[in-house]
């Protein structure tokens, strides 16, 4: 029997050796002797633990590594190794690796190459690592996915980024496929929207923050994803089920799909559009519906998705387009998407508009149109979702410090008191400040927003703080 201390040391040595092995594999080619030597040493440690404890589990929970349920203490010497293993597993959404007796050299080598060659737990050919291991007949090593409840903020942010950019790529692919008359992959859209919904319900900020990304070059794709995020946030606030949220997200993602058929010369024309060009623009909801109907031949499209696309420019008082032969109500999906659409459009630089509206200005402008273009009730819900100072707004605090609105206050009475990420003008380290923190001595609040600022003027890239 070895002592607990020795056992702990063996476990720690195993993690260190595994970390070294991963680094070595990255550097040397597979035939290199160094790899084989490290593999043998690592295998020796694995066998020792298995012999002693009959099992070997390497688990990642929050910011800690556990070997056989014992947390490894991070010291100056072990930090690099533990960090590397933690990052490797977290990056691949792997929560646990289980080694079972007998582990062969080939199994260990096969596992490590599959792990390194994979992204997000998938093996080289695009399949999840667990499946890949079975395919390679490696049964002594199994992996389990990361339990979502242990996903920390950093990881969520990373996941949000992947979903966000994947969605943009998907919308782009959909639009390009449309022009080439290729079938559209609705299932892809469904999966991404489902991921967006899951993420939004666990961490609203991660996605709403990303909606501050405004891509001038690929406006339509970027805009579609942003509108989807705003619509989902609004729908979630209204208490929609996940099913309905996924439909809303998909409708918003495809709301401008009809624009794919409109030439760039019209979409990006900096001058005033002539009547013919206007007519083309006005036709995009109708074209969008036709495109979605085309998809419908291959997959189920819920009528609500159709409503979202058809109605998003109809306006609350039906004064918009397409012009109707018979009056009909703008549907709820249409009303929601209209708000997200206009808000994102106003806060995004466009070739034909000299001024970008600050988030606050955009809300003020939209308020004037409530009852005509927007549903006044839904507008209020939207303000509740994104706040009076929406996420991504650059603000000046009363102590002259600048801050980026990072999260809104959940208390509707304190919508003007969000959490901000302070940025000192000298470029000091950013920290989060909750503006609803009361000043117990003087009364009132410790800090308040004085005004909104133009990020461009101060050379601040707001989006970078959400990426």
């Amino acid at each position: 029997m070895i002592s607990d201390q020795d056992l702990y040391q063996t476990r720690l040595d195993f993690v260190r050796k595994l970390s070294l092995l991963i680094r070595t594999i990255r550097i040397y080619n597979p035939e290199n002797e160094t790899i084989d030597r490290h593999l043998e040493e690592c295998l020796h440690l694995i066998s020792a633990i298995l012999k002693e404890e009959k099992r070997l589990s390497l688990k990642v929970l929050m910011d800690a590594i556990f070997v056989n349920e014992e947390r490894l203490r991070i010291s100056k010497d072990s930090y690099q190794s533990i960090k590397l293993i933690m990052d490797e597993l977290k990056d691949r959404m792997i929560g646990e690796v289980l080694f079972r007796w007998p582990v062969s050299l080939e199994d260990l080598k096969g596992f490590l190459y599959l792990l390194i060659g994979s992204e997000w737990g998938n093996g080289g050919d695009g399949h999840p690592l667990g499946t890949q291991l079975i395919k390679e007949n490696i049964y002594s090593i199994t992996v389990k996915p990361f339990d979502p409840i242990f996903i920390d903020e950093k990881l969520r942010k990373k996941e949000a980024k992947k979903i966000y950019f994947r969605s943009i790529a998907m919308v782009k692919e959909v639009c390009q496929n449309l022009l080439e008359d290729k079938p559209l992959a609705l299932r892809k859209g469904k999966r991404l929207t489902q991921s967006m919904v899951d993420l939004l319900l666990s961490d609203k900020v991660a996605l709403l923050g990303l909606a501050t990304v405004k891509n001038y070059d690929e406006y339509t794709y970027n805009h579609s994803v942003n509108v989807s995020i705003y619509s989902l946030a609004l729908g979630a606030k209204l208490g929609f089920s996940k099913k309905v949220l996924a439909e809303l997200g998909l409708a918003a993602l495809f709301h401008d799909v009809g624009k794919a058929r409109i030439p760039d010369t019209v979409l990006k024309k900096p001058d005033k559009l002539n009547e013919v060009e206007w007519e083309m623009i006005r036709s995009h909801p109708m074209i969008g519906v036709e495109e979605i109907l085309e998809i419908h031949q291959f997959a189920e499209v819920h009528p609500r998705i159709l409503f979202g696309i058809f109605d998003h420019h109809l306006n609350f008082n039906i004064s918009g387009y397409p012009s109707l032969k018979r009056k009909k109500k703008q549907t709820l999906f249409g009303r929601i998407i209209t708000i997200g659409d206009v808000y994102d459009a106003l806060t995004t630089p466009r070739c034909y508009r000299k001024r970008v509206y600050s988030p606050v200005d955009a809300l003020k402008l939209m308020w004037k149109e409530c009852g005509a273009q927007f549903d006044p009730t839904l507008f209020k819900v939207f303000v509740n979702v994104i706040g009076v100072y929406p996420i991504g707004s650059l603000v000046q605090l009363d102590d002259d410090e600048m801050g980026i609105v990072y999260n809104i206050n959940p208390d509707p009475k304190l919508l003007d008191r969000p959490t901000v990420l302070t940025i000192s003008k000298e470029g000091g380290k950013a920290r989060t400040v909750n503006l609803s923190e009361p000043d117990e001595k003087a009364g009132g609040f410790k800090r308040s927003i004085v005004r909104c600022l133009d990020p461009k003027k101060y050379g601040i890239h707001v989006q970078e703080h959400f990426l």
């Binding site: 009959k54 469904k190 109907l293 419908h296 009528p303 109605d311 009909k328 909104c452």
Partner: protein, 552 residues
């Protein structure tokens, strides 16, 4: 035997290993049993009707086993390979038959791992199992299993699904400079916002709760009237574009199929009622008109009716009232498939609803309905005759007349009864021909109907027949019935005919004649005519004389 080593040659470590192995294999055995039950139950859900007791037994057993396992081990988790389930790194279930393999079905849908946690509720398990049933039913509509499971929002059942595209590498800009540098336009600066200057941006107390209450009402139900209007607008804008027309209709077809499958009569009624409103709109162009007519035609097509009937057969307790209301709104092309559906329908109320709807629809196309009078299935012919009778239009009469020579006596009899419901001369003229029917009962019925419907005119047909020699050869029952019918024609001539028979001299079958004469006496008693009373008195007097003559 605490503290004693049963095998002195065995090291403690080996012993420990054996215990762990046996524990592991026990867990594996339990898991394997659970998997087998899970597979069986899911298979049953794909086969049996929801109210089948076998299904309930399966779910109960599975629930019991799962609860036991989860209580003991905390969670039940397994990976999904193309044809195998893998538990703790070992194959626990394998089925390579692509038509029925559960691992294959799950894997094809992107499911890679499934796990159940302690705290699993019966309802949740049932919903999970039902998802596979829904998938089976909806698979033609391209609904995927992952979405159906995801929609359910399970709290103790989790899965890990993947699609290859989700794992494909994606370029994520670490720095946004390229994007941001394009944002050259200035953004306006805004002084701080005083919240009290914008009070209308915020909800008053309780206002948001009201909104949250109202919104689900709007979102739970799809507004099919709005959908129809939207689609008509698309048709209207597309002009003569045939492709758009086909796409729009194809979409609507799937929506309608789904509603039929769900027996959502409320919304189907809404759609059909709205098409009737739209059709009366003078602004309709030819395209729009064609589209609307196509909707009602589609719902009346054999395929749609068959789908609906099949769905009704699965769920027996449907709303018959709504069902009938819906059928009544269909167009006349539904007549033929509905007649077929009537035969297949098991529920009596369902059959009645179809018949009632056919009465309404049949008014539009009597020949279509009447074409079933030539059908070989007498039950159906009977029902169609009945429906034609309920329609009650004179143009039904020649069709009903056709069944006079039908091989089935029930059909002929029904034809007679239905004809008797018409007041038209043509129908009345057809009635006497039934006096020649080969079946006695029909002839009897015909005599009664004639007396009732033709009144005095019935005498013209019944009189000569009753007085004919051939009539004497008929069965007593028939003769009595004819005489009773004659008695119902309340005229003196009837009395005269009755008297003639009453006084007829009898040479044979005296017992029969006696009964017949008693019957005539009874008939005369019930006739509300002075002539009848006089005839009866005269007859009684004569009988008295005969009696005394016999006595003395």
């Amino acid at each position: 035997m605490q503290g004693e080593n049963p095998n002195p040659n065995q090291t403690p470590s080996d012993n420990q290993n054996r215990i762990i192995t046996s524990q592991l294999s026990e867990k594996f055995r339990e898991a394997r049993e659970l998997i087998l039950w899970l597979v069986k139950t899911i298979k049953s859900y794909r086969i049996y009707a929801l109210n089948n007791p076998i299904l309930t037994r399966f779910v109960d057993q599975l629930n019991q086993k799962l609860r036991f396992y989860l209580k003991k081990h905390g969670s039940f988790r397994f990976s999904i390979d193309e044809f195998r389930f893998i538990f703790d790194g070992e194959v626990i279930y394998e089925n390579e038959d692509m038509t029925e393999s559960l691992p294959f079905l799950m894997h094809r849908n992107g499911l890679r791992e499934l796990w159940f946690d302690d705290g699993l509720k019966y309802k949740e398990l049932e919903d999970f199992l039902k998802t596979f049933r829904s998938y089976e039913i909806l698979k033609d509509s391209q609904e995927d299993l992952v979405t159906l499971l995801w929609d359910k929002e399970f709290s103790s059942i989790h899965f890990w699904a993947t699609d290859d595209f989700l794992w494909a590498p994606i370029e994520i800009p670490e720095k946004m400079k390229n994007i941001i540098e394009k944002m050259e336009m200035p953004m306006g600066e805004q002084e701080n916002i005083e919240l009290n200057t914008l009070p209308r941006w915020f909800f008053k107390s309780g206002e948001f709760d009201e909104v949250k209450e109202a919104i689900p009402r709007e979102i739970e139900q799809v507004d099919y009237t709005n959908l129809l209007m939207t689609l008509v607008e698309v048709i209207s804008h597309s002009g003569k574009d045939c492709k758009t027309f086909e796409l729009v209709f194809d979409f609507l077809e799937k929506v309608l199929d789904r509603l039929l499958h769900l027996q959502d009569f409320k919304n189907l009624i809404k759609i059909l009622s709205f098409t009737k409103i739209l059709i009366s709109d003078r602004r309709l162009d030819s395209n729009e008109m064609e589209f609307i007519q196509k909707i009602t035609n589609y719902l009346g097509e054999p395929g749609s009716i068959e789908r609906l009937i099949a769905s009704l057969a699965r769920f027996k307790n449907f709303n018959h009232e709504q069902f009938q209301k819906y059928l009544c709104l269909l167009s006349k092309n539904a007549i033929v498939p509905l007649c077929e559906a009537w035969l297949k329908m098991e529920s009596v109320e369902g059959k009645m609803a179809i018949s009632n709807a056919l009465v309404e629809l049949g008014k539009e196309d009597i020949p279509a309905l009447a074409s079933f009078l030539e059908d070989e299935r007498p039950l159906l012919v009977l029902n169609v005759i009945n429906i034609l009778g309920k329609i009650g239009k004179d143009e039904c009469i020649p069709h009903i007349a056709r069944v006079k020579g039908h091989g089935d006596s029930n059909v002929r009899n029904e034809g007679l009864h239905v004809l008797s419901m018409f007041n038209h001369q043509e129908a009345k003229a057809l009635l006497p021909s039934y006096l020649d029917d080969s079946q006695m009962q029909i002839r009897i019925n015909a005599s009664k109907i004639l007396a009732k419907k033709l009144g005095t005119d019935a005498l013209y047909y019944l009189g000569p027949l009753i007085l004919s020699k051939e009539f004497d050869n008929r069965e007593l029952k028939e003769r009595k019935a004819y005489l009773e019918s004659l008695g119902k024609v309340q005229v003196a001539d009837s009395v005269r005919i009755l008297e003639e028979i009453l006084y007829r001299k009898i040479f044979s079958k005296r017992a029969q004649w006696k009964k017949l004469k008693s019957c005539i006496e009874a008939v005369l008693v019930f006739m509300d005519l002075d002539e009848a009373k006089a005839a009866l008195a005269k007859w009684k007097k004569k009988r008295k004389k005969w009696f005394f003559r016999l006595l003395y």
